[in-house]
């Protein structure tokens, strides 16, 4: 009974998205042992906060056991998978010059050498130095990334760093409005505003443009690193529903085996 109310807002979206995963709605409706997490819906119109209603958040997404090790793995993956080191050193064959034998083998009283660019020489090649480009790419398993997202969202909610708003409409373009709002509500210096789509209302875009530590993101851009970097996460109702439905889709999909196969570049 609790859970049927819980999923009213989400089921529609769920059923739209999950044509091939028709068992999800049935499964989610059966979970009477999980209590939904209830959160206030606040407003952004005025500096003082007004509570406009309540929203139920699915416990699989917002009440997951916070796995700190999985969160760490996700943050490390995000930092490294795109990183390519372009440090480069020349090997003795690549250094300019060094083709001729500098002096005869015997008779000079000098030590024997065959090239002035051998690694023993000053200005010679480097033997085992960095060779560009060195990629640090790897993929985390699919469900590790999903678990990272659910853990971080749960952590944000549990630590009172998650706020849900009706929409991102504010009355003025002034950035001082945002500063005062955030300060009066104790929202933490850095705030991440998440909406459902990437086209945002004009006022908030202009207001947060000047402030470096307040940024806007669409729902599909949400990630573990950003959620940890920003002190407060402010999501619109639509964004929250979108994220919940996408994560439930990921958690309940039928072809999980396919998703957990080893990553092959050509098969993506």
């Amino acid at each position: 009974m609790l859970c049927s109310n819980l999923l009213k807002s989400n089921l529609k979206q769920l059923s739209n998205c999950l044509k091939s995963y028709s068992n999800v709605a049935a499964v989610e409706g059966q979970k009477h042992y999980l209590k939904p997490r209830q959160v206030w819906i606040e407003n952004l119109d005025t500096i003082d906060e007004k509570k406009l209603g309540l929203i139920d958040l699915h416990p699989d997404v917002f009440a997951a056991n916070p796995r700190i090790d999985i969160i760490h793995q996700n943050v490390r993956w995000q930092s490294l998978y795109r990183y390519v080191s372009f440090a480069h050193t020349k090997v003795r064959s690549e250094v300019r010059g060094g083709g001729r034998k500098p002096w005869p083998q015997k008779g000079m009283g000098k030590s024997r050498h065959s090239s002035i660019r051998s690694p023993m020489w000053r200005g010679g090649g480097i033997i085992h130095g960095p060779r560009s480009p060195t990629s640090h790419f790897y993929m985390l398993p699919f469900y590790t990334r999903v678990l990272g997202l659910t853990s971080t969202l749960s952590v944000k909610l549990a630590q009172d760093d998650l706020h849900i708003v009706k929409n991102l409409d504010i009355p003025t373009e002034e950035s001082s409005f945002m500063q005062e709002l955030v300060k009066s509500r104790n929202w933490g210096p850095s705030v991440l505003f998440v909406d459902e789509v990437d086209i945002m209302p004009r006022n908030i875009t202009v207001a947060t443009d000047e402030i470096k530590h307040m940024n806007l993101m669409p729902a599909y851009s949400l990630n573990v690193h950003s959620m940890l970097k920003y002190d407060t996460l402010v999501m619109t109702e639509a964004a929250v529903n979108r994220v919940i439905s996408k994560l439930l889709e990921a958690l309940n999909r039928n072809d999980g085996n396919a998703a957990m196969e080893k990553f092959k570049l050509d098969q993506v």
Binding site: P133, S221, S226, L265
Partner: protein, 162 residues
Amino acid sequence: MSFVSSIVNGLKAWNPLKVPVRFRYHSEKIAKGPTIRRYGFDDNILQKGPLPKVDPSYKKLPMPEYRPKDAWSTKRALFGQNDYIDILGNDKLHPTKTLYNLPSWVRGVSGNEFQMLIRKKKIFHHRAYPINRPTKWNELNKRIIYLYKFMNRHTRTGFSKQ
């Protein structure tokens, strides 16, 4: 006979009232202080006390000026933005497909230098690279030949996949 007489003479010289003694009471010895050893040795290394004042005209060692990085520049504020786009957005768009700023043969691959060079050669050998960059192409090929010999003859290659 002679040694017996020498013993007797020694015994006569020994007077029990005159005994050689270093100190009467141990506390007197302690009160004197520690025995000076290595007398006249001058230890030049400062063991205690304030540091000596250095002449300001002395050149200080160079240290770079500390410049903290801007933690909220656009790049850093939005780092990791679309890494979960295949979960939260389009199923078909894998994060490796968003690596626009990387060289094309490096996107979504990892390996040692030998594997990366072979991949680069496979991608570019029928394009303009050998004609536009002949020296670099030659270096690439030389490096592949050298690495083949080094990796297969001088390092452990791991288990065979047969």
